[in-house]
């Protein structure tokens, strides 16, 4: 039954997969799988595969599984079964069609949120295994088109959105000018060598959400922060190559980021409200380059706001009135331990925080992260159908009075906008900075 239901859903047309598999030969598939599973992978993968007792206890961790009426094909281990187990069992002798399915499963039916790692009694990291599958698919050239295009953008421009070198600087100067209408002496200091902080953002900010740059500049200015932004590539902390399995491009993009900060000789990098970017600079990209921890401390926006409020660098004039609920993004909460700091910030700027359940480390994923939303329109329904449980969770919080949904992560933000709209939840989705900008005391 479940098998049939699954087949029904498979009508997605994705050139990245459909054309990609046409270039495959059985030999190439076998060679690449062997290269990754035997050559690149090591003890972790081996231990994970051989320790797993197929108990199925990871299932309930996964929002896809919960949202698909507990269809076991969507359980974390179920996805491993459909991909890695088969590759291992067949010693890499799998068909092109199999690779296409594996790519779809690994790239669009798993947000690598690592919630399941908290549910496996052995702490098996299934997200890591899904990323290994994506790595194989990358080396075979079978990656969903939209995210592959994004990886190309990273490779060319070192940013996510094909923002050209000059467009970036121009946008910053434009936002500086805009903000000067509000605070005439406000500056976005470019290339200020020796500043305390380099502020880094993700590609969509200059491309579509320039108001976030504006807000950040105002917050920095009001708080009297010694900050700068680079006028060279390396300003973008995001990294979709990390999610396509193109580790080499991931490393290159992260190197540009860290070397830009090192060139500017800043003490710390503060980044905007993005989750996967945090993962890429704090966890994955730095490691590929050989840094155990980021060479320059990375401060996520939540942590930074916490610091500003705690140290009274900014004053809250009047708290935000409407009841809010908070979505805990996987990469900064489960991946960065900022759950309590996020609550400190929200409580400092909002009258009422209504918790959704589960929350903190146990919050349900937005279903957009891990590169899934970046796989583009073909998979929008994958995300919607794959996260009914999130809609239910949000609905429950709404029924207890929450009106505003705070999502301090770009992917979560966009993903939850879609969920909100698709399920008609009637929330307004906001970043913390949207509210913070509104409630802080600014020079009149």
């Amino acid at each position: 039954m479940a098998e049939a239901a699954r087949k029904e859903e498979k009508k997605i047309i994705d050139e990245g997969l459909d054309v990609g598999v046409q270039n495959l030969t059985e030999e190439r598939i076998e060679k690449v799988i062997t290269r990754v599973l035997k050559g690149e992978s090591g003890a972790r993968l081996k231990a994970y595969i051989e320790t797993c007792v197929h108990c199925g206890l990871c299932s309930e961790a996964c929002h896809y599984y919960l949202s698909h009426d507990k269809d076991p094909q969507y359980s974390p281990v179920g996805k491993v079964k459909q991909t890695l187990w088969k590759m291992l069992k067949a010693k890499g002798k799998v068909s092109a069609e199999f690779i296409k399915d594996a790519s779809e499963i690994a790239s669009t039916q798993c947000n690598v949120c690592k919630r399941c790692a908290m549910y496996c009694p052995f702490g098996i990291d299934i997200a890591y295994m899904m990323l290994t599958v994506r790595r194989i698919c990358h080396l075979l050239g079978v990656t969903p088109l939209y995210i592959q295009d994004t990886a190309h953008s990273h490779a060319v421009t070192m940013n996510q959105m094909w923002v050209k070198d000059d467009e970036w600087i121009d946008t910053l100067q434009w936002q500086e000018e805009e903000a000067q209408a509000e605070i005439p002496t406000l500056r976005i200091p470019l290339e200020k060598e020796g500043a305390d902080i380099m502020y880094s953002v993700i590609g969509p900010e200059p491309k579509f959400q320039a108001q976030l740059l504006y807000q950040a500049a105002v917050i920095m200015d009001v708080a009297g922060v010694d900050w700068t932004m680079p006028a060279t590539p390396g300003w973008d902390n995001s990294d979709m190559a990390m999610y396509t399995g193109d580790n080499e491009i991931m490393g290159r993009v992260k190197r540009a980021h860290f070397e830009t900060a090192a060139r500017l000789r800043v003490n710390r990098i503060v980044m905007g409200e993005c989750g996967h970017a945090f993962r890429s600079v704090y966890d994955m990209g730095n490691r590929w380059l050989g840094w155990r921890m980021p060479p320059i401390p990375i401060v996520h926006a939540i942590d930074f706001y916490y610091e500003l409020i705690k140290n009274k660098k900014i004053t809250i004039t009047e708290k935000f009135k409407e009841p809010v609920t908070l979505h805990d993004p996987c990469n900064v909460i489960r991946g960065g331990g900022l759950a309590e700091k996020a609550r400190f910030v929200i409580n400092a700027i909002c009258e009422q925080l209504i918790e959704m359940h589960p929350n903190r480390e146990h919050n349900y994923c937005c279903c957009a992260g891990g590169g899934v939303i970046n796989c583009g329109p073909p998979y929008k329904m994958t995300r919607m159908d794959g996260n009914r449980i999130k809609a239910e969770q949000l609905f429950a919080a709404k029924s207890r009075g929450a009106k505003i949904l705070i999502a301090p992560c770009h992917n979560c933000h966009s993903g939850l906008e879609d969920i909100n709209h698709h399920y008609g939840l009637g929330y307004e989705v906001k970043f913390i900075s949207d509210i913070l900008y509104d409630v802080i005391e600014k020079p009149s």
Binding site: E15, G16, G141, D166, A231, E248, A262, I296
Partner: protein
Amino acid sequence: MLTRIEWDWEPGSREIADISKWQTQFNWVEEPCVSPNGEQVAAIVNLAEGEFNVCVNGKTWETVFDKIWHLRFAPDGRPVAFVSDTGEWTVAVDGRTWTHKFGYVWDMMFSPDGQNIAVAVQQDMAYGMALNDVIWKKTYSNLTNPTLSPDGSSTAATVQVADFGEGEIYKFQKGVFSVALDGQTWDTAFVNVWKSAISADGQKLAAEVRLNLYDYTIAVNGTPWSQTFDCVWEPIFHPQNNAVIAPVRSGGKWLLAQDGQIVWDRNFVQLWHPMVSPDGNTLAAIVAPKYGRWTVAVNGRPWSVTFKDQLSEAVFSPDGKRVAASAKSDGRWTIVADGVVWKNRFDRVWPPIFSPSGETLAAKIERNGRYSIAVNDHIWDQVFDAVWDPVFSPEGDKILLRTLNNDRYVRHVVPVEEILH
């Protein structure tokens, strides 16, 4: 332009400008920058809404601009900035603008003597480079990684040679990027071209390229090395023999290659920023011999001392016999020279500078928000709100120091002996 030997090397301190006065004069004063010889201090100043100028030693340029950014002194002491007037951008040198105007200008580069100034330019979404007000004859739909030849006579950059639309991943993967030397691209295009280098004689151009999504190598004058790798970092030219040297990745480890052949007998977790000593005899690079441990390898042998956080800006002494770098462990900076670490730790330290003889090593340092310099692990007893990198006299017995305290910019010449005692 005065050569370094002609600068004022008389020991003593001299106040050049009181910037606090400028602050009363203008709406705001941006970050000051100073000339190499320390005789000038300049800053972008705001006169009124949409009115900017550059103030040098208290005097403004003749022309007021809508917007100014990236003010820097060229090595020859001329202040240079990007300026905008009625929506057009150009370069202003000492207050005089280039004749060419652009949609945008950025990435300012100087030749070591400061005589050549190169920038990246964009006009009507067509991209190119300009050197001393001379623009490339051809333009491209995108341009990244601009570079200048060692003598500053040639420019190069990665350029996009064919158009592709959003989502046209297969067109992209056929290769639409190349590199242009003085505007002329190679005949070959690649999936990606990143940083490039121009040989000392200006005849050769080498760049890191990606042949498909997975195979990387170095291409020289359009011809890729016959060997491919899992990844590469940017190449450099050997200053004497024009050999191309680049870090390459194979089997998950980094190696050093010269003209496609592996030259160091061991691999590293990371290897980048290779450099050749001025005499051409020594090859060094920043390496991670172990995961999360950073140091310098000289001729393939890493120093035994390693650092946890980072190691940046290794430098050779002018005679090529010594190597020094700034390094950080557990958030504390220090200097390491020839594998020997300074005892002092700093909140921040800037790239170290060798005296002409290589005997003395100096660096700008920060402790508790105040700045000073340290020489051979001795910290000068004076602290400032800001200092610029120290400059050695030609004999190496004196140091030129450019400092800022209470917005007063002061030029000091300090005998090295004074700091060491």
